[in-house]
């Protein structure tokens, strides 16, 4: 490859990120991609129930803003943020036990396969209402401000979520009180079958920040370096008490809204265009160009991650479902009794 190293190649200095950070980001992207593709397959094979929301194609938008957060920082994800969950520290065991709805899952099988969360890792288990966790994560940021902590909250949502009233109320509040929160809009052009042109009368969803008095920027969401740097700066500003940022990441989901959606409403060429901008391939190329990765190293990484995933699948499939009676648990704290039906 040495012959290819011309002056046009990027250097670490130009990028101004450390080797460690770049490798960390790339590793996260790869882990997320491999896990996501594997889960898709599992679902299609009927190995788990419910449905599955793939985020393949969007990985940089969730890995970038999450990488390097503290456990005490809180993320408020939606349904398509497996990348954020993995990067924030959920284990494959936790995630796969979740999709299999087993008792070993963080939610013990109560909620839904795609509702990954973890209190120790600072990941709110989502409720399904679109933009629900945008509101709740803003409340976490409000608490950090009252507590005078320099933690931040990061809320993830699609461009479709910006149409919701709760979303507006949260961002408005964050603007008034300059809360330590970063809003990551993954504009993947579609909300289920509805194109972004029917979602809002504007071209740039980042413009919505103008209604709240804090910065909004639109970036290439498939460029992990741009996403990471933009988010890091916003996070630093938030920690310093300088308020929220709305970051619109332009991206695209490769597959259907969920695995049961053939996504016939899209033009095939649109997908082909976006596949050329694959965020994982682009990161890979960058790493190779920087001399931080070789094909061999990559293969070894794939092999190791794949093995981890297969172990986690075994773990999950070997795990039991919660017992029927456990339906009565975790409704209230112990102080409040739950009424059980005679059986």
């Amino acid at each position: 490859m040495a012959a290819n190293q011309t002056v046009n190649k990027p250097s670490l200095k130009q990028i101004s990120l450390s080797e460690e950070t770049l490798m960390g980001l790339y590793t996260s992207l790869l882990r997320v991609r491999l896990l996501d593709e594997r889960l898709r397959k599992l679902f299609r094979q009927g190995r788990f129930a419910g449905t599955y929301f793939s985020a393949v194609g969007q990985e940089a938008t969730t890995v970038g803003p999450t990488y390097g957060l503290r456990d005490e920082d809180i993320i408020g994800p939606s349904h398509r943020e497996i990348g954020a969950a993995v990067t924030k520290g959920l284990t494959f065991n936790e995630i796969i036990a979740q999709v299999f709805a087993r008792s070993t899952s963080p939610d013990k099988g109560k909620s839904h396969p795609c509702h990954y969360g973890s209190r120790p890792k600072g990941v709110i288990h989502p409720a399904s209402t679109v933009a629900g966790q945008t509101v709740v994560a803003t409340g976490c940021a409000m608490a950090f401000k009252i507590q005078k902590k320099d933690n931040v909250a990061v809320a993830f949502f699609g461009e479709g979520a910006t149409s919701r009233g709760g979303w507006h109320e949260a961002l408005n509040y964050a603007g008034v009180h300059k809360l330590p929160i970063i809003y990551i809009c993954q504009n993947n052009m579609w909300a289920e079958s509805v194109p972004s042109t029917l979602q809002a009368g504007i071209d740039r969803f980042a413009d919505r920040a103008k209604a709240y008095g804090f910065p909004g920027v639109t970036i290439d969401g498939n460029d992990i370096v741009e996403v990471y740097k933009t988010a890091s700066e916003a996070i630093a500003r938030a920690r310093a008490g300088q308020g929220p940022t709305l970051i619109e990441c332009l991206t695209y989901r490769w597959y259907g809204h969920s695995e049961i959606d053939p996504a016939n409403y899209r033009r095939p060429e649109e997908l082909e265009e976006w596949k050329k901008k694959d965020p994982v391939v682009r990161a890979e190329q960058l790493m190779i160009d920087l001399g931080l990765l070789t094909n061999e190293k990559r293969e070894a990484m794939v092999e190791q991650i794949t093995a981890e995933i297969e172990d986690a699948i075994k773990f999950a499939e070997a795990s039991k479902y919660s017992e029927p009676e456990e339906a009565y648990l975790d409704v209230y704290s112990e102080k409040i009794p739950v009424r059980r039906e005679e059986s």
């Binding site: 419910g50 709805a101 109560k110 399904s128 209402t129 919701r164 289920e192 479902y321 029927p324 009565y328």
Partner: protein, 327 residues
């Protein structure tokens, strides 16, 4: 006659009403080209155009509130709530606007709107794709609440709703969409609002239910027959205003009642039915009116054993009936 599934009956009702009345239009998420997440509106945008089958932004408050406004100036909107779980953001528009517009304006403004709400469990939907929240609307005078269990009723009640002059919350149970078929007349028909259906005659006990539970109750009645117990099954169909006469008639005959409700027990529709029966028919009762309901935990947990444990089913109904018969 044409064999029609529950969901086809809904689609046909909309198509026919749109064809006969240009004031009828649909608004909701993914209802256009996509035809709705369950395909209830399949083909309607192609047929009636983007102005009458509107793919809304993710804005439940607007979907309902905008429909209220449209209804007030002469339209007949049928807004769709993709899952009952997501009706919460539109509560203000339903309760404070739709339900009270006639009352608060001395009858000047009205709101002929039919909110279609896809609901119900036993589909592996978990906490946020299984909910039913009929009890909130059931307790709001000014609303009509419908809950069909058969293709015939689904079609006939939807037509009555669209042709009526009142705001209607129309629950459709996703478990029934493709599992229930029936031969429907080719010609136009409606099913009257406010009338329950006797699904099966019986003399020993009255079982009252609606939606999916009407079917579970029929299954239970079949099993009970083998044990010599003759159960009369009443399907409420309209929850608000509910049909006291039909239910009371039956109980006067049987003297015993079991009430079946898929939703969480406490504070549900069947609490009202039970309380009313007691108030009005105390002397007729030979045993306590007994409910079979979803558990008093959030409706409903995802994992199959938990979901199964939560939901009422034929076995649980049979057991309750026997207990009441032995009283």
């Amino acid at each position: 006659m044409k064999t029609t599934t529950y969901i086809e009956a809904i689609t046909e009702a909309m198509a026919e009403e749109m064809a006969r009345d240009e004031r009828v239009f649909l608004i909701g998420e993914d209802i256009g080209l996509y035809g709705g997440v369950f395909k209830a509106t399949k083909g309607l945008q192609e047929r009636f155009g983007v102005d009458r089958v509107i793919d809304s932004p993710i804005s439940e408050a607007y979907i309902v509130g905008g429909s209220v406004g449209a209804a007030m100036v002469g339209m007949r909107p049928i807004p769709e709530i993709q899952f009952a779980d997501f009706i919460t953001p539109s509560m203000d528009q339903i309760i404070q606007q739709a339900a009270k517009i006639r009352y608060r304006t001395g009858g000047q403004w009205t709101c002929p709107m039919t909110v279609r709400v896809c609901c119900g469990g036993d589909v592996g939907g978990g906490l946020y794709h299984s909910q039913i929240n009929e009890q909130w609307f059931f307790s709001q005078p000014g609303l009509v609440v419908l809950f069909p269990s058969t293709p015939y009723d689904a079609k006939g009640l939807l037509k009555s709703a669209v042709r009526g002059e009142d705001p209607v919350i129309y629950f459709e149970h996703k478990r029934l969409y493709r599992s229930i078929k029936e031969d429907l007349p080719e010609e136009d028909f409606t099913v009257p609002i406010g009338k329950a259906a006797v699904r099966r005659e019986g003399k020993d006990i009255t079982i009252v239910a609606y939606g999916l539970m009407a079917h579970r109750s029929i299954d239970a009645a079949k099993a009970l027959e083998n044990e010599g117990i003759s159960a009369e099954i009443i399907d409420m169909r309209t929850l608000l205003p509910w049909d006291r006469e039909t239910i009371y008639e039956s109980i006067k005959k049987t003297s015993r009642a079991v009430l079946v409700q898929e939703n969480t027990k406490t504070g549900g529709v069947m609490a009202e039915v039970s309380a009313s029966i007691t108030e009005d028919l105390f002397d007729y009762l030979d045993a306590p009116v007994t409910r079979v309901c979803g558990l008093d935990v959030p409706m409903l947990p995802f994992a199959p054993p938990l979901e199964h444990f939560f939901l009422p089913n034929a076995d649980k109904i049979v057991k309750a009936v026997k207990k009441v018969m032995e009283y």
